[in-house]
């Protein structure tokens, strides 16, 4: 579904060139919920953004659904982007448009005829449980609701892929649950492939079937989370998994004494 090969991306910064992603290859299958985890500055966002070429890699190729995006011209790339949804940590909704018009926005971009928009918008809002908020402006919504509007907006053009950059990093743990549940639903019901960047192992454990651990611009380890015994080799993966285990035992302990 998504095939990244030898992706390298270097930024020019004041203190010289900075290699944000170094020679990363990653294959993501259809229907996967694929996690990209790592600490701040590891290059997760940069790698994610190369998938729809918001960030154009200096070297390497990006192929989606067998089509090499890195070879397309800008016009063709825009057409392909219609079928790759994206959501962000800070939601990035249009603040001067209400919820309905925000979800309508990508349909207008895609020049969907007006008559077809309404049923699609209503279906998307229903999917994220916000039909009753259609007339509300983003400023009046909670963080979790805003992110669900962003999900509805990303779904409007019926994408096959949804890219998520820390979708739960600016909401509380409870809201995180509702956003993750919405993502899981759309993956199951619509078969949409999801790539999710996070620095929280909980998020990975909650919805991902695969995960790649990133550090200093490289993927240091990857795991299939359906496997029985996962034995992390790299120190960073050990740290991330151990944290989660500590959390689990904490919960078990709590349960035992409840």
């Amino acid at each position: 579904m998504i095939d990244l090969r030898n992706i390298t991306k270097t930024f020019a910064t004041e203190s010289g060139p900075l290699q944000a992603v170094s020679d990363v290859s990653l294959q993501i299958g259809e229907g996967d919920i694929y996690g990209l985890i790592g600490f701040s500055g590891a290059g997760k966002s940069t790698l994610l953004r190369t998938i729809n070429l918001l960030e154009r890699p200096d070297a390497g190729t990006v192929a989606v659904d067998g089509e090499e995006l890195t070879r397309l011209n800008l016009r063709e790339l825009r057409r392909r982007r219609l079928s790759i949804g994206m959501i962000f940590q800070h939601f990035n909704l249009l603040n001067n448009l209400n919820v309905y018009d925000n979800v309508s926005f990508p349909l207008e971009i895609a020049k969907v005829p007006k008559a077809e928009r309404r049923p699609r918008i209503e279906r998307c809002l229903e999917m994220v449980g916000l039909s009753d908020k259609a007339k509300a402006y983003p400023a009046k919504l909670s963080g979790g609701q805003k992110q669900r509007v962003a999900i509805a907006r990303a779904l409007a053009n019926e994408p096959k892929i949804l890219l998520c950059d820390e979708p739960t990093s600016s909401v509380d743990p409870q809201t995180t649950g509702s956003i993750l549940a919405a993502l899981k639903d759309i993956n199951r019901e619509l078969g949409i492939t999801i790539v999710i960047v996070t620095h929280e192992m909980n998020v990975v454990q909650a919805i991902c079937n695969k995960v790649a651990v990133m550090e200093h611009g490289r993927v240091v380890e990857r795991f299939d989370l359906h496997e029985k015994n996962i034995v992390p080799q790299s120190p960073i993966a050990q740290f991330l998994f151990k944290n989660e285990i500590a959390l689990e035992t904490g919960r078990e302990t709590e349960a035992r004494y409840a």
Binding site: L77, R78, R81, H90, N92, L94, L97, P106, A139, N157
Partner: protein, 221 residues
């Protein structure tokens, strides 16, 4: 004492009419030309969407050049141009030429600034949806910046109500001309006072209307 005011009243109304005539020509033209220019300034800035660095340097330079002229000097300096455009350098229509030339880059700068305030993330989200540059400008930038644009129109209108008085010095008529004749040459303080009160009321009205529109357009809070 009231006699002076009553005597000057018809003249005052005529002058006010001329001032509004100048504003009604200047502001819409400044908005119509300044908005696309300001948008181009924004789009061609280093690190922005259009990689036209030479164009930016040129446009930015011209905007700065025109903006650096004190208004009275601009007015005198472009008299030949004004004559070319309206056939004469005298009169109210002629006075609007320097006003427009001053207002266009002023408004363009405002637009550039207002667009800079639009959240980059929203623009990026639109890009990720496959929006082209024109769609980003129309559907994202202008939508998100609309209250800022309304605010800019308000400020420019109030400023040019003030600039329009300078036109009185070169035979452009208007409220400035009126003030010179009655307040300065005839020294009628009462007439001057009434004029000032009327101007203050108009500025308040413009500002109040502007703020109202801005509040209506702004859904960010």
């Amino acid at each position: 004492m009231l006699d002076n005011v009553i005597y000057a009243w018809p003249e005052l109304l005529k002058s006010l009419g001329e001032t509004f005539y100048m504003l009604v020509l200047t502001i819409p033209i400044a908005v119509a030309i300044g908005t696309p220019l300001g948008t181009l300034l924004f789009l061609t800035r280093p690190d922005s969407f259009l990689k036209w660095p030479k164009f930016y340097v040129l446009l930015n330079g011209v905007v700065n050049l025109v903006r650096s002229f004190p208004f009275l000097i601009l007015m005198i300096a472009i008299i030949p141009f004004t004559r070319l455009v309206v056939g004469t350098a005298l009169g109210t229509t002629a006075a609007t030429v320097p006003m427009i030339i001053n207002a266009v880059p002023y408004f363009a700068r405002f637009i550039e600034q207002v667009l800079l305030d639009v959240n980059r993330g929203v623009v990026e989200a639109a890009e990720s949806m496959g929006a082209n540059k024109l769609q980003i400008v129309w559907k994202v930038l202008y939508t998100e910046a609309r209250s800022g644009i309304a605010n800019a129109v308000t400020i420019v209108t109030v400023s040019f109500l003030s600039y329009s008085t300078v036109a009185g010095l070169v035979g452009g008529g208007g409220i400035g001309d009126f003030a010179i004749r009655y307040g300065y040459y005839r020294y009628q303080t009462d007439v001057m006072f009434v004029t000032i009160v009327i101007m203050v009321l108009f500025v308040q009205l413009f500002q109040f209307t502007g703020n109202f529109v801005v509040r209506k357009l702004d859904k960010r809070l």
